[in-house]
Amino acid sequence: MAATLCVKYLPKQGWLPLTQSVRHGSKAVTRHRKPMHIHKQKLMAVTKYIPPPKAAPPGAYITATNRVQEENSLVILIKKDLEKLFQNCRMLAVVQNNASNAEDMRLLKHRLYKHGIYVRFFPNKVVQSFLSDSIYCNMAPLFIGPTAVVVSKEPKVKEMLMTLKSSPQMTLLGACIDNTLLSVQGVVHYSKLPSVAVVQGEFVSGLVMLTSNTASMLQRNPTHLSALLQQYIKQQSPESVVEKAT
C-alpha cells in the first residue's frame, strides 16, 4: 500500500525517456516506399523547390513594337483632327455614352446642333496618346469606356446642360471650357453665371453711377453755400430788421 502511494516520489527505474524504437530488420523490401521519419518529412517540406516569381504575362505591358505600330496614318489623321478641335473650340465636354440607341443619339445630336454644338466620337487610345503629349494631359482620366465629346466654338454651357438633361443615357463627366478643366459641379456653377455682356453692362453702369455721384457731390457744396448765403441775406434785409423792431 505504502509502496503504491510513494511511487510518485520515487525515481522511476527501468524507464527510458521517449526513445524512438528503431526497427533494424527487413530492409530488403523494395516493393513499397519505407515510411519516412517525421524529422525527415519536415526536412523535405522545408527544402522544397520554390520556383522563381513568374514573369508578367505577355501583353501586360505595352511593348516598344506595339507603340511603333500604333502610329499608322489613320491615327495621325485623328490626332490632327483632335488638335484642331482643341485649338478652335472653347468648350469641350466629355460625356459618357451609356448604351444610347441610334434614335436617341440622332435626337440629341439634332437638339445640340440647334445651338451650334456638335457630338464627336474618338477612339480612347488615340485620345489618350494625344492628351499625354499635349498640355491637356489632365483630361486623360475622363476618357475611359464609351465616351463622346461635345464641342462648340462658344461656351454654351446652359444650352448643353439643358439638352443633356433630356437624354438620361448621356452622363456628363467633365469639361474643358476656355482652357479650364471643370468638374460636373463646376460646369453647373459656370452655367449659373450671367453672360459676359450682362456683367459688362453692370460694370459699366456701376462706373457711370460713380462718376454721376462725384458730379452731384461736387455740385452739392456750392449749392448748399449759396442757399445759406441767401438765407443770410434774407435775415439781414430791412424787412427783417423792421420785424425785429416791432
Binding site: T30, K34, K40, T47, I50, P51
Partner: protein, 258 residues
C-alpha cells in the same frame, strides 16, 4: 513552289487579258483557285541515317556464361539512385527510359524483344539494347525446404536498372508517332515506371532539372542541411541521402525536387 504557281496563274490571267476574255466569273474563279493552295510540311530529312546490318534486337542469354557461378548478396544499391551509365542516347532517336529502379528478368527482356521485333518495320527502323543480359544471381530455397542450412541455390539472373537508364533505343527513318505506340505498350509491362522519350524530350527533361537547381528560390537545400548535419538531422537520414539529396527513397524517384 507557291510563287511558281502564282506566276503561272498570273501568266494565265495575263493571257486572258491579252485576248480580251477578261470577265467577272472567270476572274473570281481564278482567285478561289489561288486561295485553295495548301502548304505542306517539309518531310524530315533522313539522308544521313545509316541503318545497321542487323536492325532487330538481339537475343539475350538467360544465364551468363561463367565458369563458376557465385552467389551474391542482395546489393540493393544497384537499383538505388540515378543511373551513371547509359543515361543518354548513342545512335537512336527514341527510347524507353526507366523512371525508377528495378530488376529486369529474362522474361521481361524476351517480351520486349519479341514485341519490338515483331511490330517495328525493320526496313526503316533499328533497335538496340542499352542494358546487359541478366548477370546478377538471385538465390532461392527449394520448395518445401526447411529454413536454415545456408544460402539457397541460384534460381535465376536479373539485370538491375537505375532511374534514368535507357532500356531500348530505337532509331532510323521513323518519327516518334510511328514507334511510340510499340514502345509505350512495352514500357507499361516493365517492373518499374518507364517512359518513352525522344532525344529532344530527354534533353529537355535534363535541362529542366538543371534549371530548377539553378533557379531554386529556397535558401535551404537538402544537400546543405544533410551535409552540415544541422540539428543532428543525420540521425534520421541514411547515408544514401547524402548523395541523393532527398530526390530518391530507395529505388523510387521523387519528382519535383532539387
Amino acid at each position: 513552289m507557291i510563287s511558281l504557281i502564282k506566276t503561272a496563274v498570273g501568266g494565265l490571267t495575263g493571257i486572258c487579258r491579252a485576248h480580251g476574255h477578261l470577265n467577272g466569273p472567270l476572274n473570281s474563279h481564278m482567285k478561289v483557285l489561288a486561295a485553295g493552295l495548301k502548304t505542306y510540311e517539309i518531310p524530315p530529312d533522313y539522308s544521313d541515317v545509316v541503318l545497321p546490318d542487323k536492325p532487330k534486337l538481339k537475343f539475350m542469354n538467360k544465364v551468363p556464361n561463367l565458369k563458376k557461378a557465385k552467389k551474391e548478396m542482395k546489393k540493393l544499391r544497384d537499383i538505388q539512385g540515378p543511373a551513371r551509365a547509359a543515361n543518354f542516347f548513342t545512335t537512336g532517336q527514341y527510347a524507353i527510359v526507366a523512371m525508377g529502379g528495378g530488376y529486369l528478368h529474362w522474361g521481361h527482356l524476351e517480351m520486349m524483344r519479341l514485341t519490338i521485333n515483331r511490330k517495328m518495320d525493320s526496313r526503316t527502323t533499328f533497335a538496340r539494347w542499352r542494358i546487359n543480359s541478366p548477370y546478377k544471381p538471385i538465390t532461392r530455397k527449394g520448395l518445401g525446404q526447411r529454413m536454415g542450412g545456408g544460402k539457397g541455390a541460384i534460381d535465376h539472373y536479373v539485370t538491375p536498372v537505375r532511374y534514368g537508364r535507357l532500356i531500348v533505343e530505337l532509331g532510323g527513318k521513323v518519327e516518334l508517332g510511328e514507334v511510340e505506340q510499340i514502345l509505350t505498350e512495352v514500357a507499361k509491362k516493365l517492373p518499374f515506371p518507364a517512359k518513352v522519350m525522344s532525344r529532344e524530350s530527354l534533353e529537355a527533361l535534363q535541362k529542366k532539372q538543371a534549371d530548377m537547381e539553378q533557379n531554386n528560390q529556397n535558401p535551404w537545400t537538402f544537400k546543405q542541411i544533410a551535409q552540415g548535419n544541422m540539428l543532428g538531422i543525420r540521425k534520421v537520414l541514411s547515408p544514401f541521402d547524402l548523395h541523393s539529396h532527398g530526390c530518391f527513397t530507395g529505388k523510387f524517384h521523387i519528382p519535383g525536387r532539387v
